[in-house]
């Protein structure tokens, strides 16, 4: 009646191929009528029929490929966790996740500071971040024993602070007035990344908090912030720049002499390309910064080590979409290469349904029945369509001899919404499963989607709750 053996087999095979594995693994393929009893464990699962229909239902259960659960509360409650870094591609909710984690940790008793990079205006306001002053401010409205402070990164000011920390006032002034410095401190593509990490180092050194939650800049690539500190550090501390700074000094030893020939070519080309005045600016800048070079290098190294330290935990944030998960995968690989401690994947905006037992196909078929003018055929149409009427058709064929009641049209609309939702869940599930089958050891937490944007503490609290609903 419901599903032919052939179809079940095909569905199971398809599920297996898609990396979902759940239906395909759990049932021997070809089993005509899955019992639907294995659902006892875990959440409300799709009955066997829905599972066999493949496309429509939430056909998954605990299986060998299931992801490990990421326990966020355990992570933020652990006194050993000193730094949480939220990273991921743009538009996946990194900033919101960081803020929500910070709030939750504070309300659970920790003394927390959240460093955000570029929060949405209303989210910033909700945390009392009305001005960009580069200093942590206490967030009001936190319930519970802990304390939450938050700040927005001001990269120029952070850079200035580094300069001021390393140079006497007169020299600092010289540096800050240099056009090359101004361009570097506000424009250089890696400066934001570098300064985010610099600020992290500062906050950590200050030691006023027992947990620091860091958001990462919306980079071209999610990996930029790992590379930028080193790149800028080695650039400012580099041999090239030193030689540029004082070509005359170099000619001491013969090996250096040889090098100098190459350098002359560099400076020649650079001068031609950029104009001689640029070299002049750079040279003055570098001379003024001379005393700080070792400092830069050292700071970059320290930050890097801090990121590798046991108290640090990286959370890769993603949405259940192809691009975001691909970026997440790159990130997971990279963290492993760099031996950075990955705590897990936060999968944001995951959709769910309260009625997983109703498949998309059945919902659409019923919607069509409700919208069609002929009422008497209704019961028959329901079962007929189970054979796979996928065609949703345009909504609202209200025209007809017999007018459908408001309620019936509403029911049809709700069923269409449900079909849309179920299809979406299936897609998201497929994306997630693909990630999980490639990275079975990465703990995952799924965060159910909210209907709207988050712009108050209540919303952040809700996200915090959802981060721990498993």
């Amino acid at each position: 009646m419901s599903t032919s053996p052939k179809k079940a087999e095909a569905a199971a095979a398809a599920a297996g191929k898609a990396g979902a594995g759940a239906a395909g693994k759990a049932e021997p393929s070809g089993k005509a009528e899955p019992s639907g009893k294995a659902e006892a464990a875990g959440k409300a699962e799709a009955p066997g029929k829905a599972a066999a229909a493949g496309k429509g239902g939430q056909a998954h259960r605990r299986d060998p490929l299931a992801a490990r659960q990421l326990d966020v509360d355990a992570l933020i409650d652990d006194p050993a966790t000193a730094i949480v870094v939220c990273c991921g591609s743009g538009g996946v909710g990194k900033t919101t996740t960081a803020a929500a984690l910070g709030l939750r940790a504070a309300e659970r008793g920790r003394k927390v500071v959240v460093l955000t990079i570029d929060p949405a205006r209303r989210l910033a306001q909700s945390m009392g971040l009305t001005e960009l002053d580069n200093t942590p401010r206490v967030v009001k409205g936190v319930n519970g024993p802990g304390e939450l402070q938050a700040m927005m990164l001001d990269m120029k000011r952070t850079f200035d602070e580094v300069v001021l920390a390393h140079a006497d006032p007169e020299r600092a002034r010289q540096i800050m007035e240099n056009p090359f410095y101004q361009s570097l401190s506000s424009g250089f593509a890696g400066t934001q990344e570098y300064m985010a990490m610099e600020k992290l180092g500062q906050l950590q050194a200050e030691g006023s908090w027992d947990l620091i939650v860091v958001d990462t800049p919306p980079s071209r690539s999610a990996l930029d912030f790992l590379d930028a500190p080193n790149r800028l550090g080695s650039f400012l501390d580099g041999r090239l720049i030193r030689i540029l700074m004082a070509p005359a000094k170099v000619g001491g030893r013969s090996a250096m002499k040889f090098l100098n020939v190459g350098m002359n070519m560099f400076t020649g080309v650079l001068g031609k390309v950029l104009g001689a005045n640029v070299l002049q600016d750079v040279s003055t800048f570098v001379t003024a910064m001379d005393s700080m070079f070792g400092g830069f290098r050292e700071r970059a190294d320290r930050t890097y080590q801090l990121l590798q330290a046991p108290g640090t935990a990286f959370l890769v944030v993603a949405a259940p979409e192809r691009d975001a998960l691909r970026e997440a995968a790159y990130f997971v690989d990279r963290l492993e290469t760099d031996r950075m401690p990955l705590a897990g994947l936060v999968l944001n905006r995951v959709h769910s349904t309260g009625a997983p037992q109703l498949t998309a196909e059945r919902a659409l078929a019923a919607a069509e029945t409700l919208e069609s003018p002929d009422q008497d055929d209704a019961a028959g149409a329901g079962s007929k369509d189970e054979n796979g009427h996928q065609n949703g058709g345009p909504a609202g064929s209200q025209a007809g001899s017999e007018c459908r009641s408001e309620t019936e049209l509403l029911a049809a609309g709700l069923l269409r919404l449900h079909a849309e939702r179920v299809q979406r869940i299936t897609r998201e599930r497929r994306m997630r499963d693909r990630f999980v089958s490639i990275y079975p050891d990465v703990p995952v937490v799924e965060v159910p989607a909210l209907a709207g944007d988050v712009h108050d503490l209540e919303g952040l609290r809700e996200i915090g709750e959802r981060l721990n609903q498993h």
């Binding site: 538009g91 949405a120 919306p218 001689a276 005045n277 919902a363 919607a367 019936e408 049209l409 609309g413």
Partner: protein, 357 residues
Amino acid sequence: MPDWEGARLHVVSGKGGTGKTTVAAALAMALAAEGRRTLLIEVEERQGIAELFGIAALPYEERRIASVAPGALGALGARESRGARGAKREGEVFALAIDIEQALLEYLEMFYKLGRAGKALRKVGFIDFATTIAPGLRDVLLTGKACEAVRRKGPDGRRLYDAVVMDAPPTGRVSRFLNINTEVAGLARFGPIFTQSQAVMRVIRSPETVVHLVTLLEEMPVQETVDGVADLRTAGLPVGGVIVNMVRPPVLDEAAVLAAEGDHTEELALALADAGVGARPGRGSSRKSVPAATRKLVEPLLAQGREHAARVLLEREQRADVQALDLPTYELPLLAGGVDLGGLYRLAAALKEQGAA
């Protein structure tokens, strides 16, 4: 007549996650209709175009990646009676993924005839150094390449490309990216970079250039679009249209969902039972009784309806904010299951139908 008649450089920006690469590709295809030739340029070195079209990574050279058959977009879109005789040629979309190192070498080669020395420069990290030392240099090279493609002439003396579409950096950075004059002014006041940047700015500020912003009907992308438009205007850059991406059709409005709450849930359950939802098909259910399985569905379905209604309401507010910008606005549907090549044609047709190309 298309809204951007006369524009040859279409810069497409938008907040991360809004689908600007997809929109840029669809626009390049739409502009290629009726036998035209367009170039789609990628500047962020992440091979988004190759990913989107499902092809191998693009090298630093212009490659044909798609063709637009005569009437293909019309047939799907406006259904104008263009017919087979209107357009005889096939439209062509080329793509170029700019590699910054190669672009700099090409540039140096053009001016200084470096020969093999260029390769040596690359090896010792000079390129990295040069682009680091002058942050604007990178942008000059990227925008310069686009402008060169815009102005390039074919053997017949006509412009080689009818239009160039650039998948640009996100909204937050696009003004700075395009406004290379100020970027470079602090560094180079003369010299070839300065001259080059002047030439590029002439193209970018001319009526041949428009900057389009892609958004979603969500709060943050819309806010960023509003800010982006203001930034572009402040910088004196030509603002084009707003492309609202991934639009979902409203299925129900709030009034309908509210109506169903309270007293009407019973009726709703009945209607669902009537349509065979939740009941075992074939087991004839009596008209007036609602099976327990059906009853269980009512609340979850209504909850989804409420969520939907809330979203529709939110989207209405966001749409109003977009409309308040008073710019040409285009809407592209959400393609369930992601965008494949077929989907790109659909989006291109939608853009064309709405007059974006």
